[in-house]
Symmetry: C2
Subunit: 314 residues, 2 copies
């Protein structure tokens, strides 16, 4: 089975397209297959940037070594081109390359992603002279598990209180600051839209199904009112939008989108409301689809290896 990991590096530049593209292109170039390096390719896509946050991020997917090589290439360029001493932006940040999470997609365990974070951390610390903090599943100390805690005080704060990093020097890089490298589970974003405009119903359902209140494991949920865009049909506009249960599934192996859907459906039914539609937001691993089909249709023996497209790239 082919090993596939995802990496979503975040960089502290969201305005200067020349810099953003240079970082993105370095990853793309690094992701090209190379028989000399002895590993396959990594795909680099979904570049996003935000001027107010002054931040950009993209997705790298592929074999573990290829992904690590590609992200390291982009970190090198970010280190050269971004000066944190001059950086201004709304989003919390500690360095030019700010956060680098590795996420298992298929054929890879969380332990392997932790090792990958360590391997990249060592390389960034030693070769680029940047202090590296391992976070979340890769954290070496409990106080580093939560990324928000590492970021406390952000670039300037960290510069003063500087903890002992996991790799690299004990002091901030003069222009690139520090970086948090870690491992976490895949997050599936899933919205269920209700056939009502009463946001209180969505909020009530969200409270019932979320883990925090004793609901489903790995489920975060909030109720929202979705207003329709100007280009909606007159009928839809008259209807005045709809209520939405917005769900983050932080561990789809525990609770997958089909289970969340049925939980919302059953709670909505009790309140006399029907489901209008649902939305899988952004990317989703094949394994999540396969699990949903297995559970929903009692197809106990179904495996992702039976999906034709998957076999193309083994």
């Amino acid at each position: 089975m082919q090993k596939i990991v995802e990496c979503v590096p975040n960089f502290s530049e969201g305005k200067d397209l020349k810099v953003i593209n240079a970082i993105f292109d370095a990853a793309k170039k690094g992701g090209k297959p190379s028989s000399a390096r002895g590993f396959g390719r990594a795909r680099v896509f979904e570049l996003e940037y935000n001027k107010d946050h002054n931040r950009c991020l993209f997705t790298i997917v592929g074999e573990p070594d290829a992904v690590m090589f590609a992200v390291f290439e982009s970190i090198k360029v970010a280190t050269k081109l971004i000066n944190m001493e001059k950086h201004v932006g709304e989003h919390p940040r500690i360095g030019a390359t700010d956060v680098v999470p590795f996420i298992p997609v298929s054929g890879v365990t969380m332990e392997e992603c932790v090792e990958l974070a360590q391997k990249l951390g060592r390389k960034v610390g030693e070769e680029l002279d940047i202090p590296v903090f391992l976070y979340e599943e890769a954290a070496s100390k409990p106080e580093d598990r939560n990324l928000a805690d590492i970021r406390k005080g952000e670039y300037k704060g960290l510069k003063v209180r500087m903890n002992k990093p996991d790799f690299g020097p004990d002091k901030m890089h003069p222009t690139a600051g520090a970086v948090a490298i870690g491992a976490r589970k895949y997050l599936v974003a899933f919205n269920v839209n209700l056939d009502t405009k009463d946001v209180e119903i969505a909020k009530k359902i969200a409270r019932i199904i979320r883990e925090k209140n004793g609901g489903l494991p790995g489920v975060k949920a909030l109720g929202f009112k979705v207003d329709l865009p100007a280009e909606a049909t007159p009928q839809a506009l008259q209807a005045g939008g709809f209520a939405q249960v917005s769900i983050n599934l932080v561990d789809f192996e525990k609770t997958n989108f089909d289970e969340a859907y049925r939980a919302v459906e059953s709670e909505a039914e009790k309140l006399g409301v029907k489901i209008k539609s649902s939305e899988i937001y952004g990317m989703i691993p094949l394994e999540s689809l396969v699990r949903a089909v297995k559970t929903t249709f009692k197809a106990d023996t179904f495996k992702s290896d039976q999906v034709l497209e998957k076999r193309l790239y083994e």
Copy 2:
């Protein structure tokens, strides 16, 4: 969007592993990516052979030109190594390479698969001197649509009555016979197992849901009794197996497995029977999974491009 087709060539050799492997290996070698030829790779897998049928087949999946190149390489070897004058076997056949269907998987229309069949047909006719009959969606005459009609009288019969082929000479190749090359839709094999051992219930449901009797479009269905293998648990053996609705979905864009499942479920309910489990048999295109998720969870905007693994190989 990347174009992906499938091809499942059938060859008239199911005993001699040296010959079988030589044909299979030729396809695999032909499927390797070649920048010289200017197209990507094709994956070759799922070799199956049957001694009684004296026949083997395998699956080639990839970019259209890469698939065509790979299958042509295997046809060349089969032409050299199989002698139809000496062939004996239960399965109907007309040649060393017997049947070659092209099947759209994603980003490819049926028309493109028909063109691919024509292109390969011309090449086999001209370069290998084998008469080629285009069948099913690629058929040039109505009487060639049905493969069984082309095969009537099989190798020996065709040798005598020889129709005008679409490509190649008007007479059989002295050792390799003739070949049928065509295009067809992807077939999804799907079984629904009932929580009863009464096969009559499965037969009744099969009759109701199949297209032939006015049921769902593109659905073929039969009721079977499934006896449990010797290694089943004592409890299961005591239960005496179960009844199965065995379904072939010949056009999953018209009726997909989730719709077939719900149809069986609803008919079974009327008869007081529950569904025990279901099985997706063999390979399934990603598009079929995506459609099932869209329909079942009203996820109207969901697209296969959102599946992470798919993006790996664009």
